[in-house]
């Protein structure tokens, strides 16, 4: 057990104490660029979430039309709702809307929150609506771009390369991008507060 004197000697050199809330198992990954698998899982979770919303919309619309326009097709033999292509388009639109809103406000979508990821711009900064709209549109239109994260030495997808963004491990629960400051980039000292991590844009 560390005595308070030892503790104080240790922490005096590191400035004010910062409470470490990240589980010990994940502390050493904080601030690292996330790889393909974990990002794919987060994306799938997002797609599933938006898919559920689209399905619910479809069911809602179907019920709505059934209730208010039952005479047209009492036997349900004719499609009462718009064709599924519209819902696919709606799904893409919702996906874009959802990612834009989440990245611009929180820096992470629901799937990324669950997987402990955060999207950051240059210098590890939280980026604004403009870049969020661009990135989310790019991600929604061209999901295979994530595959490049497998090959990229810096785990960057095509979208990341084009827009100079990065996805990092950040298990902290706060929504601010600067909360990644609490993530430890030093695995040698689990309890030490580390500065925010940011990607280096040079030499991809």
């Amino acid at each position: 057990m560390t005595s308070f004197g030892q503790y104080r000697d240790h922490h005096d050199a590191q400035g004010p104490p910062v409470l470490e809330t990240v589980p010990a198992a994940g502390r050493r990954y904080q601030g690292d660029r996330a790889g393909f698998v974990i990002r794919a899982i987060a994306a799938v979770l997002d797609v599933v979430f938006v898919g559920i919303v689209v399905v619910l919309l479809w069911v809602g619309l179907w019920l709505f039309l059934l209730i208010f326009n039952p005479v047209i097709d009492p036997d349900l033999t004719v499609e009462v709702t718009p064709p599924s292509g519209y819902f696919l388009l709606a799904g893409y639109f919702l996906m874009w809307l959802y990612w834009t809103w989440m990245w611009a406000t929180n820096g992470r979508s629901l799937g990324q929150y669950l997987m402990g990821l955060r999207v950051v711009g240059r210098q590890g900064r939280h980026f604004g609506w403009k870049l969020a709209m661009l990135r989310s549109g790019f991600c929604a239109v061209f999901p295979p771009g994530l595959v490049w994260a497998i090959i990229s030495p810096r785990n960057r997808s095509v979208q990341d390369v084009m827009l100079r963004t990065s996805v990092i491990h950040d298990w902290s629960s706060s929504s601010s991008a600067s909360s990644s400051a609490s993530s430890s980039s030093e695995s040698s000292s689990e309890s030490s507060p580390a500065p925010a991590s940011s990607p280096s844009d040079a030499g991809e």
Binding site: G26, G124, A181, A194
Partner: protein, 216 residues
């Protein structure tokens, strides 16, 4: 005939003269009497003189010695002499050895009253409360307790999933690096899988870098 009954007391008894014997014996008695008178007178005179001298000298000394001593003491620095000549430290240490200060303080000092009159706010201001709180939180691992009491199984499952995904990523990047004959991520894999000491400066490519503005 005179008889010396006690000190400094002369009793003269007159008796009718009764000549007896011859003139020789008369002369002998006279001589003896005279001798005795002389001896006694001498003794009395010596004693009287001694007593007188003693009282006179005593009164003289009583009046002169304090005055002389005052004059002498006023002309010398006693403190300086004591400091120079006396080993004060050993005296104090010896005195301290013989007394139990703690017991004296316990017996004679009202500690409660002192504490009651102490400005505790000033004391608390000097205590690093935040550090103490953080120290306690770290020692008892409060985050872990909170997680266990609130998050429970769900959070553990998420942690496991995250770590598993990270491990999978590490394996994939290792394989890709091996296929592409690249060494960049191999260093990161070695760092994270073996759990060795990290050197953030040697890992600029695989790790996100520090920013200034996002520091606290």
């Amino acid at each position: 005939m005179m008889v010396a009954m006690s000190d400094r007391e002369v009793v003269v008894v007159s008796r009718p003269y009764e000549p007896e014997g011859d003139s020789l014996s008369l002369a002998r008695d006279l001589a003896a009497s005279t001798f005795g008178l002389v001896v006694y007178s001498t003794q009395a005179a010596v004693a009287l003189t001694e007593a007188t001298l003693r009282s006179v000298v005593g009164s003289v000394l009583d009046k002169t010695v304090p005055a002389i001593a005052d004059v002498i003491i006023s002309r010398i620095d006693l403190t300086d002499i004591v400091v120079r000549q006396v080993d004060l430290q050993s005296i104090i240490l010896r005195a301290l050895d013989e007394i139990d200060i703690t017991q004296i303080v316990m017996d004679r000092v009202d500690v409660d009253e002192i504490v009651g009159k102490t400005d505790l706010d000033a004391v608390i201001d000097r205590i690093p409360m935040l550090q103490i709180a953080d120290y306690i939180i770290e020692e008892i691992d409060l985050p872990q307790i909170i997680r266990e009491s609130t998050g429970g199984v769900a959070l553990d499952a998420f942690t496991t999933t995250r770590v598993s995904a990270i491990r999978a990523d590490e394996i994939i990047s290792t394989m890709v690096d091996a296929v592409l004959l690249r060494r960049l991520r191999q260093r990161e894999r070695k760092l994270t899988v073996s759990g060795g000491e990290s050197d953030s400066e040697s890992e600029p490519d695989s790790r996100a870098e520090t920013t200034e503005e996002s520091g606290r």
